[in-house]
């Protein structure tokens, strides 16, 4: 591979089979989609703070979304919420996060020249790209994009008579997700095979960095759960287009009596959440893996309780398959089933608590170097604590009766899943940017970006708990229709202020990212003095990763500040000294 064939522009930058280039393609597509999703949230936050008024931001929307008075149409508010959810969950935090870091880190950190199949890896990205184009196109079709929430519950999503977005927009959504799932399955299988088969000499499973463990388990979750989403979506497609009744029964919509009899929307919910809950951990685990790595490197300490950290990832992954019913406590599902799901759900708190304690123990008596990546990693730990705890309320079926589908849920999952994962993704970008582009990102802009984001994010999502405890349901175009919510106007304005400020602050990151690619200071080979294998590759990123022989691994990834060593790190390739014990 070292004598790789000559690359043309097209094979190097577009149809590349090099995992590092594919990772960057995923990252940049993901960043673009994050920008689109964030703009959508800014727009609907403006509506919530000033319901029924016009705004300059609405000029970004297709003209038919806004009425003559310049106000956003209610069904288009739902379209924005739906697309924001879809984009952030699937495009940014699944493909953007896993796609980037699984591709980038797996071969580099296990000592492989590339993925098991570079060709399939390329296909995986291009399927994702096609899915992206279709999803974006769906915004501009007649009736607008899918508008029934990112969970697309039928019958709302099945019936164009019920909401305009369930017409062509919904068909394109399903098509887009189908292609997305195909791409992510191909990618996931590739990741699993690569980790299991292509580890270099000495890289036993017990020596693997936690990033690779997290990415491996994530890929397994995806391969097991995404096909269920596919079948779930296909049945919906049949109901929509071919007159079947999997999810439909006894319906009169808009004065029209439908022929469908015998189907059940609850079946859809079971199928959807059988993916939907593992999906939460597909989003979260890579971020937690990145954070473990970044915290250890910048604390100059081994990650505390490596075995327990791996165990916690495995336990969380296992439990994530048997908790989906906690999204359905209020569907009329048998209350006994609700009890079972409450039990399994609250158990997840145990491995989660172990992870938090282990991170805190890693920080204890550390020698913390505050790179922007480290700050974002600390932000993840904080968000994971804050957001994880409210899960104890929502996972408890009795308490869920009154907070289900309220803003309490919105606050909870945006903090524990949204913030933790986005912070984790930022930590990853800041940390591995020197390896991706051979340049350093500007440190001071990174600091500014972190603190601005940290303050604004809590300013947006923490007050939402109070809205929820006041009984305010989510997905309301405005809360001015109910006098009981009149007191909540101030909170809504505060949230919108922080949301807009937070959105503007992300411009610092985008600027820093682009500026540093072209004008950043040149990176050294191992700028963070880290132990893992990617830092033994040359700064000039070559196809095949290592110029000569593959590195041989002699120790685990976390020998930082080990007594008896001169420097405070030891690359995984450094042989054990005489008499030295493996941790």
């Amino acid at each position: 591979m070292a004598d790789h064939h000559k690359e043309t522009f097209i094979t190097k930058y577009i149809f590349s089979q090099d995992h590092k280039m594919i990772a960057k393609q995923f990252l940049i597509t993901g960043m673009f989609m994050a920008l689109v999703g964030m703009l959508m949230s800014a727009i609907f936050r403006v509506q919530l703070a000033n319901p029924g008024e016009s705004s300059i931001l609405y000029s970004l929307l297709p003209g038919s979304w806004v009425n003559e008075a310049g106000a956003l149409n209610p069904d288009k508010y739902l379209a924005l919420v739906t697309m924001h959810g879809t984009i952030l969950v699937f495009w940014v935090l699944t493909a953007g996060l896993s796609g980037t870091f699984a591709n980038f880190l797996i071969p580099l950190q296990i000592g492989a020249r590339d993925m098991a199949s570079g060709f399939l890896n390329m296909i995986s990205y291009w399927l994702f790209f096609i899915a992206t184009v279709i999803l974006i196109a769906s915004i501009y079709v007649q009736g607008g994009p899918a508008s029934s929430g990112w969970t697309i519950y039928p019958p709302l999503s099945a019936l164009p008579q019920a909401i305009p977005g369930s017409g062509t927009g919904m068909t394109l959504w399903l098509l887009s997700i189908t292609i997305f799932v195909a791409g992510s399955l191909i990618g996931g299988l590739n990741y699993i095979v690569t980790v299991l088969n292509l580890r270099t000499k000495g890289m036993s499973m017990r020596r693997m960095p936690l990033t690779v463990w997290a990415l491996l388990v994530t890929a397994i979750l995806g391969v097991l759960s995404f096909p269920v989403l596919l079948s779930c979506g296909l049945l919906l497609l049949f109901d929509r287009s071919f007159g079947t009744s999997f999810y439909l029964s006894d319906i009169i919509v808009n004065g029209e009596m439908l022929h469908n009899i015998g189907g059940s929307p609850i079946l859809f919910e079971h199928l959807f959440w059988f993916l939907g809950h593992p999906e939460v951990y597909i989003i979260l685990l890579p971020a937690l893996g990145i954070v473990s790595e970044v915290i250890s490197v910048n604390s100059r300490k081994p990650i505390f309780g490596y075995t327990a950290m791996v165990g916690a990832i495995l336990v969380i992954a296992f439990l994530s398959f048997i908790v989906w019913g906690h999204h359905m406590f209020m569907t009329g599902m048998n209350p006994f089933l609700g009890s079972v799901f409450t039990f399994t759900t609250l158990l997840i708190a145990i491995p989660s608590a172990v992870k938090v304690f282990n991170w805190l123990a890693t920080l204890w008596r550390a020698n913390i170097r505050f790179t922007p990546a480290m700050l974002f990693a600390i932000g993840t730990v904080s968000a994971f604590i804050t957001g994880g705890l409210t899960g104890l309320i929502l996972g408890d079926s009795a308490l869920d009766i009154n907070v289900h589908d309220t803003y309490f849920v919105v606050g909870h999952f945006h903090i524990v899943m949204g913030l933790s994962a986005i912070y984790g993704m930022y930590a990853g970008v800041y940390h591995w940017f020197p390896k991706m582009y051979g340049k350093m990102m500007n440190k001071n802009l990174g600091y500014l970006h972190f603190w601005g984001t940290f303050i604004c994010a809590y300013g947006v999502f923490f007050p939402m708990h109070f809205l929820g405890l006041a009984g305010l349901p989510r997905r309301y175009y405005t809360n001015s229709a109910f006098p009981m919510f009149d007191g909540l106007t101030d909170i809504n304005s505060i949230i919108t202020f922080f949301a807009l400020a937070g959105a503007v602050i992300q411009a610092i990151f985008i600027f820093n990212f682009i500026y540093s690619i072209f004008k950043g200071t040149k990176a050294s080979q191992n700028p963070w003095k880290a132990n893992t294998l990617e830092w033994t590759t040359p700064v000039e990123r070559i196809h095949g990763n290592w110029p000569g022989e593959l590195p041989v691994v002699e120790r685990w990834a976390y020998d930082y500040s080990k007594p008896g060593q001169e420097k405070d790190y030891a690359l995984q390739t450094e042989p054990m000294q005489k008499g030295e014990e493996e941790h």
Binding site: G263, S299, G305, I350, A366, I393, P473, F511, D568
Partner: protein, 325 residues
């Protein structure tokens, strides 16, 4: 015009960002330092910031709890609701204790152990005793919480409905209709094929139980008397949410769902407690279409005498439908 101004401002911001970045790089070059190397001064500065902003976040949380407490829902107005509130207090207390312990600890650690090039971190890879403690303690606490939660859930769900007043709540885009089961306390059968402009709920009038049913635009309940709400939907999934009673159940087309509870406070009592504007409200809490945000129906809780007088004034279905024919 505005867009030109916005474009100009954005351009200026970008230019100034470039300049700031360039200047900091040049300054570092002059001092012969690497601008992106994290110095001891950076560590000091950022360590202090984690402490200040971290504790600022905690202060912000406390401020919100103090300032917005009065906006939260009043105590439950139902029997099972009070048990849910008790469970909520215990759970909320627990998570607040953990939050106010771990968050300060995190930001104290990041401050206290901020780096210094002359120091070395303490090599501490694992400690079985500690790890066992912080696995076992959450397990024990959670077991207790799970048992308590499941008992509350069980009592809220498995209520004896044999002497409950039965009321049907019917949802469609975008409004609610209710049906009282009448004197026999039995709802007549219904079929969606029978729905038309006069028979909006599709009640089967050949079923003798249907004759005394009454279609309602507002639901009245008797204080202290158990009620069983039965839910149906005409088109898409809706969710019947009565936050003051701690009641919520989805209304699913093709499926019948139910929720039984006992109201404990009359509307009048609640008005005295919460202000004249107060009303028990039924909201929709499952995305159902463009007017999802405005699907409401009032519930009134009153004494038996008031209820009797009110229900007597409503026509039965047989009076309504048969006279029209």
């Amino acid at each position: 015009m505005t867009s030109i101004l916005i474009a100009l401002v954005s351009l200026l911001v970008i230019v100034s960002l470039v300049q700031i970045t360039r200047v900091s790089e040049l300054l570092a070059e002059l001092k012969n330092e690497d601008v992106n190397d994290v110095s001891d001064a950076d560590n000091n500065y950022q360590g202090v910031l984690t402490l200040v902003i971290g504790f600022g976040f905690i202060a912000f949380v406390i401020w919100q709890m103090y300032e917005w407490n009065h906006l939260l829902l009043p105590p439950a107005a139902s029997v099972h609701g009070m048990e849910i509130d008790a469970l909520m207090r215990v759970s909320m207390g627990l998570i607040l204790v953990v939050f106010f312990a771990l968050t300060p600890l995190l930001f104290f650690f990041t401050y206290k152990y901020r780096g210094n090039k002359s120091r070395k971190a303490y090599f501490f890879a694992h400690n079985n005793k500690l790890e066992v403690i912080w696995t076992v303690v959450p397990t024990v606490v959670l077991t207790a919480l799970i048992i308590y939660g499941l008992r509350t859930w069980d009592r809220a769900m498995n209520v004896d409905v044999s002497d409950s007043t039965i009321i049907e709540v019917y949802s469609k885009q975008f409004g609610w209709t209710a049906r009282s089961a009448g004197e026999d306390n039995k709802l007549g059968k219904s079929n969606f094929r029978l729905v038309d402009n006069t028979n909006v709920l599709g009640v089967d009038m050949e079923d003798p139980n249907a004759a005394d049913d009454k279609v309602l635009r507002e639901v009245h309940l008797v204080v202290g008397k158990p009620v069983l709400l039965k839910f149906r939907s005409q088109d898409v999934i809706h969710s019947a949410f009565l936050p003051h009673f701690r009641v919520q159940m989805n209304c699913v087309p093709g499926l019948s769902t139910q929720f039984g509870f006992t109201p404990t406070k009359t509307t009048k009592e609640m008005k005295e407690q919460e202000g004249e504007d107060f009303d028990y409200i039924l909201l929709c809490n499952k995305i159902c279409g463009s007017a999802h945000y405005n699907m409401q129906m009032t519930f009134i809780v009153e004494t038996q005498e008031e209820y009797d007088a009110w229900i007597a004034s409503k026509k039965t279905l047989s009076q309504k439908l048969l006279t029209q024919k």
